[in-house]
């Protein structure tokens, strides 16, 4: 299921592979993100790893309740998980990627990189891994 990106929106994605998040920090960050603390948010998809070894899919569409679903994958119990983990946001132009990056960095371990993809970059979501799992962007 696809949907278009408006001219005044941007798509931002950020690799979280190898990061293991503190659930309480993730809750706080997820609440803030979906409530607009980092700018207007239209859609979010993320797959995150948390400290008990489970992986979660987070999704949000403007006007709807945020959803959090545990993925049916094995718990990663030794070392840092090397399966793909990522957050992707469709946001308004007031989006604050530095604030989001800083929050993610604190909630887990340092990030490896981040990048901002303008809408003109289209849907080049390489390195998706199992992000393809019900990915809607």
């Amino acid at each position: 299921m696809g949907s278009s990106i408006a001219a005044n929106q941007l798509v931002w994605h950020h690799d979280l592979t190898g990061q293991v998040l503190d659930p309480a920090s993730l809750n706080l960050f997820w609440f803030e993100l979906t409530e607009g603390a980092y700018g207007q948010i239209h859609r979010v998809k993320a797959i995150v790893e948390i400290v008990d070894g489970s992986a979660w899919q987070l999704s949000f569409n403007q006007g709807e309740d945020p959803m959090e679903t545990e993925l049916p994958v094995e718990r990663w119990l030794s070392g840092r998980p090397d399966r793909p983990s990522q957050i992707e946001v469709v946001a308004g132009v007031d989006f604050d990627p530095i604030g989001v990056t800083a929050a993610c960095r604190v909630a887990g371990s340092p990030m490896r990189y981040y990048s901002i993809i303008k809408p003109s970059c289209g849907s080049s979501h390489e390195n998706r891994g199992y992000f393809l799992y019900s990915w809607q962007l």
């Binding site: 503190d22 309480a24 706080l28 609440f31 409530e35 604050d96 604030g99 909630a107």
Partner: protein
């Protein structure tokens, strides 16, 4: 003789001014302050100077304590790593910003105040960091009030104002002692007690950005929970201008209920 009780100003000078004006309109004879004059907000020195110049009897809050004694709260005071990191940023900023006389004023504040049958504390009589939430077990709440010897306990720290009456308390106990064959039965009756939370002047968390405080009439025992509008965008702009985390401005503008408190509100750090 009515009193006003204010708490948790958190360096928000705009909010404090608006609340003081509102107090002026209510023919209040005495103001008390329950601490946390600094932290999170952009004007810690101005707030302390105002409270000091008005000779407002004030108890020390957890932020005031941390500023004078060094950040001593353990990670258990924070609900998450993210909240802890932001708390530390605000602490460091405030620590660098405040003047020596501000620090001296905060250092000499008492932990509790007693006036007639009223007690004033920041968090709870046990600890500045303890949250007396409105839903806390009634017997626990009663224990906190009884611990002060007062009938009315004023507290803050939760940033959401409330009044809680505790009445008709009764506990039946049976005691068997070594060497005594019979069992003794005791009936304990707890007297009527009240907890009044003054909310927060400078960082409200009741869902709106307005400052909150309370007015109390000791003669009639009437309590008014006051909510006062103020120029919060000005404070938000100052937060960002001064280099404090922008998320504080966002939170302030929303009066967010997402309180930054530890999972177990009655947990007391041993440090």
């Amino acid at each position: 003789m009515k009193i006003a009780v204010i708490s948790c100003i958190h360096g928000n000078y705009e909010a404090l001014n608006a609340v003081l004006s509102d107090i002026d309109d209510h023919k209040v004879e005495q103001i008390y302050c329950l601490g946390d004059l600094v932290g999170y907000g952009p004007h810690p020195n101005a707030v302390v100077e105002m409270v000091r110049s008005l000779n407002i009897p004030t108890v020390q809050g957890c932020w005031d304590e941390d500023i004078i004694e060094g950040l001593n709260a353990c990670e258990c005071s924070y609900p998450s790593i993210l909240a802890e990191q932001r708390g530390k940023l605000a602490h460091t900023w405030t620590d660098q910003e405040i003047h020596p006389e501000t620090r001296e004023f905060l250092a000499q504040l008492p932990m509790t105040l007693r006036v007639d049958n009223l007690a004033f504390v920041h968090g709870s009589p046990n600890n500045q960091h303890e949250y007396l939430l409105p839903e806390i077990d009634a017997f626990t709440a009663m224990e906190r009030v009884l611990g002060t010897g007062a009938d009315v306990l004023f507290c803050g720290h939760t940033h959401v104002p409330y009044v809680r009456d505790l009445s008709d308390g009764l506990v039946k106990v049976q005691v068997k002692r070594s060497g005594v064959s019979e069992t003794a039965t005791q009936i304990h009756v707890a007297p009527l007690k009240r907890i009044i939370n003054a909310g927060s002047v400078g960082e409200p968390r009741h869902g709106r950005p307005n400052a909150t405080y309370v007015i109390y009439d000791p003669e009639s025992a009437e309590v008014k929970l006051r909510e006062v509008e103020y120029d919060y965008p000005k404070t938000c702009a100052a937060i960002i201008d001064k280099g404090l985390p922008a998320i504080f401005a966002w939170r302030l503008a929303r009066g967010l209920e997402y309180a930054e408190r530890a999972e177990d509100p009655t947990h007391i750090c041993e440090r």
